[in-house]
């Protein structure tokens, strides 16, 4: 199909093939030769290509910047505001935003208890990010492990783990975590992350299993096996690096979904207690929305943008990794 093929190679039946091949050749000739050992080339050039592609995508750049900013806010909220988010001053009851007062306490206005909405939104980021990141870490490690074992070993291991996955898959995330978290008092971001993780790993496991099954059949894996490499070595050196791409995409998007789920749980009164959470603030605001939209708008806006950033990042990474969809 490429133009480098000789006269005996079958010609591609689509006219697009001709210039698509050109594009492919042009793209690859721009690639510096990979000095790494051949077996790694496959995975590393996939990422190298994806990275080159990603750097040119505005969606990736924008979502990346938002996420980095959110991480900084979550780690060091005091960098962004000197106002204490907790005590309220009823003198400020429901004050409207002063949009010119950048980074000041009254920038986004005040809520029904006279607390600075800006400060609360900034301090609320930590809960969302903690839940999102740790729930995602949990599902990626647990689901990834189960998926690798099921996909790589097959047979009864697969049968057993796949049934286990089916069992957990049958419990809706929100509903399950609602029931689970109800039992705990003094819930923190960690409790919520754990509940979401325990119920959420199935998606990663399924994706990883499918991906591993595909990669397992690849020639380089068969070759490594023929050369007498052990299972552990094959899994970590050959299978994992080539199978992980779809998992990373799924995990990135899931991170956004966990943040959304945390907010929903907090909104329903089953989320984080004693902490500042966008969801809980939205819940409080929704009873006061009639007179002051801004109380709802800012936490809801921050929440939406955060979730959006992770989904867009995941989408961009998927598009970059899968040239077929372009």
């Amino acid at each position: 199909m490429s133009d480098t093929s000789g006269i005996t190679s079958p010609s591609h039946s689509s006219p697009a093939g001709d210039y698509a091949a050109k594009e492919e050749v042009a793209r690859q000739s721009g690639t510096a030769p990979q000095p790494s050992e051949p077996k790694k080339t496959q995975a590393s050039s996939l990422w190298a290509n994806a990275w080159r592609d990603l750097r040119r995508r505005p969606v990736f750049i924008v979502s990346g910047i938002i996420i980095v900013l959110l991480i900084v806010i979550a780690i060091a909220p005091s960098l962004f505001t000197s106002t204490n988010p907790k005590p309220g001053d009823l003198a400020h009851f429901m004050q409207k935003p002063k949009l010119g007062h950048f980074f000041e306490a009254d920038w986004f206005g005040y809520d029904g208890q006279g607390r600075s909405i800006y400060a609360r939104v900034i301090y609320g980021a930590r809960a969302s990010m903690t839940v999102g990141v740790f729930a995602t870490l949990f599902v990626t490690v647990a689901g990834g492990l189960i998926g690798i074992l099921a996909g790589y070993f097959g047979g009864w291991v697969d049968a057993l783990l796949s049934r286990l996955t089916d069992i957990f898959f049958g419990i809706p995330l929100l509903l399950g975590s609602l029931v689970m978290l109800q039992a705990f008092t003094g819930r923190t971001a960690w409790t919520v992350a754990l509940a979401l993780g325990v119920l959420g790993w199935t998606q990663v496991a399924r994706v990883m299993r499918g991906s591993v099954i595909t990669v397992k059949q690849a020639d380089y894996v068969q070759a490594a096996r023929a050369l007498g490499a052990g299972n552990g070595r094959i899994i970590f050196k050959h299978v994992l690096p080539n199978a992980i791409a779809p998992v990373i995409v799924v995990a990135t998007i899931a991170l956004g979904m966990y943040i959304s789920a945390e907010a929903t749980l907090s909104y329903m009164g089953i989320g984080i207690q004693n902490g500042i959470s966008w969801g809980a603030d939205i819940s409080t605001a929704s009873s006061q929305i009639r007179n002051s939209l801004h109380v709802l708008l800012f936490p809801a806006g921050f929440l939406t943008v955060t979730v959006l950033a992770f989904i867009m990042l995941g989408d961009a990474v998927r598009d970059a990794l899968d040239p077929k969809l372009r």
Partner: protein
């Protein structure tokens, strides 16, 4: 085909047992005492607590409780809620409402989701396509409770176009707004899935063949393209019907729809263990049946899939 269904049904048994067991453990084995919670903040009379525990069998070992629950379940008995009402009674009240809401949402999801997806997929790269992509992405990112509240307060409280809450859960017109909110996220997924599927298939060789055969455009799109592109969409819709029924917790709560989601939410808050387990069991059955139907449907739609 018959053997395939039988095998799938047999496979469903361990999954059903496993899922219900987990729910059971989540309700009864995790910290917190459901009976004590019944009394709220008031100090519970220890004698009453013991009596109630005995009545609901909660003084027995956990696995024995689960066994009793399973054997009752096989006989169609989902147990009795702490409010002394049989769970099946409560379900019978809530199911029609939930089904009605789900169907409204489902219809919106199919019509709008597939419609927008087709539009975007056929006009790939054009303005309409970009617009659909951006809007659906934002809809996916906005949490449902935010969307629900904004819709309710803007359309209901500010513009007075509709009743902010549902007074009569049997009135389909009142279920329209909750239906849209409930459908929103799935609708966005359906659009994106349809778009991707169409964009992939539109370049397929068999589409070229259909054009080369002199088929009119509506036939190329309507039969050759859609027949293939809708396979993943239909399977998504199938699983989603189950999810809509269980996923209505938030929406039903906001709009005060007396369906399963709302009932379940209140049961969780009141720590009504038997009711929670009963309702979730029902939802698990719905989910399992839906996924079986989807698999069968998939094999019907795509002749390349064989029953194995």
């Amino acid at each position: 085909m018959g053997r395939y269904i039988l095998r799938r049904l047999l496979q469903m048994i361990p999954v059903f047992i496993g899922t219900t067991l987990i729910i059971f453990l989540m309700v009864y084995a995790l910290p917190g005492d459901p009976v004590k919670a019944l009394f709220g903040d008031k100090a519970a009379d220890p004698a009453t607590v013991l009596r109630l525990k005995h009545q609901f069998g909660l003084d027995k070992p956990l696995l024995e409780q689960y066994w009793t629950y399973l054997t009752n379940l096989v006989q169609g008995d989902l147990g009795t809620s702490f409010s002394q009402r049989p769970v099946t009674d409560i379900l019978t009240d809530a199911i029609p409402v939930t089904i009605r809401l789900s169907l409204v949402a489902f219809a919106i999801e199919i019509v709008l989701g597939i419609g927008l997806g087709m539009l975007a997929g056929l006009k790939r790269g054009k303005l309409v396509d970009q617009l659909v992509l951006v809007v659906t992405l934002v809809v996916i990112a906005i949490p449902v409770f935010v969307l629900g509240y904004v819709a309710q307060s803007v359309l209901g409280n500010e513009l007075h176009l509709i009743d902010p809450t549902v007074n009569d859960s049997n009135d389909l017109s009142q279920l329209l707004l909750p239906g849209i909110v409930l459908a929103s996220v799935s609708l966005a997924y359906v659009s994106r899935l349809t778009r991707t599927s169409i964009a992939e298939n539109i370049r397929a060789d068999y589409i070229r063949t259909a054009i080369a055969k002199g088929m009119p455009k509506r036939r190329v799109v309507g039969i050759h393209l859609m027949r293939n592109s809708l396979i993943p969409v239909v399977t998504f819709l199938g699983t989603d019907l189950g999810a809509l029924m269980g996923g209505a917790i938030v929406t039903e709560g906001i709009f005060n729809v007396q369906g399963i989601g709302n009932t379940l939410y209140r049961a969780v808050l009141q720590a009504d263990g038997p009711l929670v387990v009963g309702l979730v069991t029902f939802l698990v059955v719905v989910y399992l049946v839906a996924s079986l139907l989807v698999d069968l449907l998939y094999a019907v739609l795509d002749p390349r899939i064989r029953y194995v």
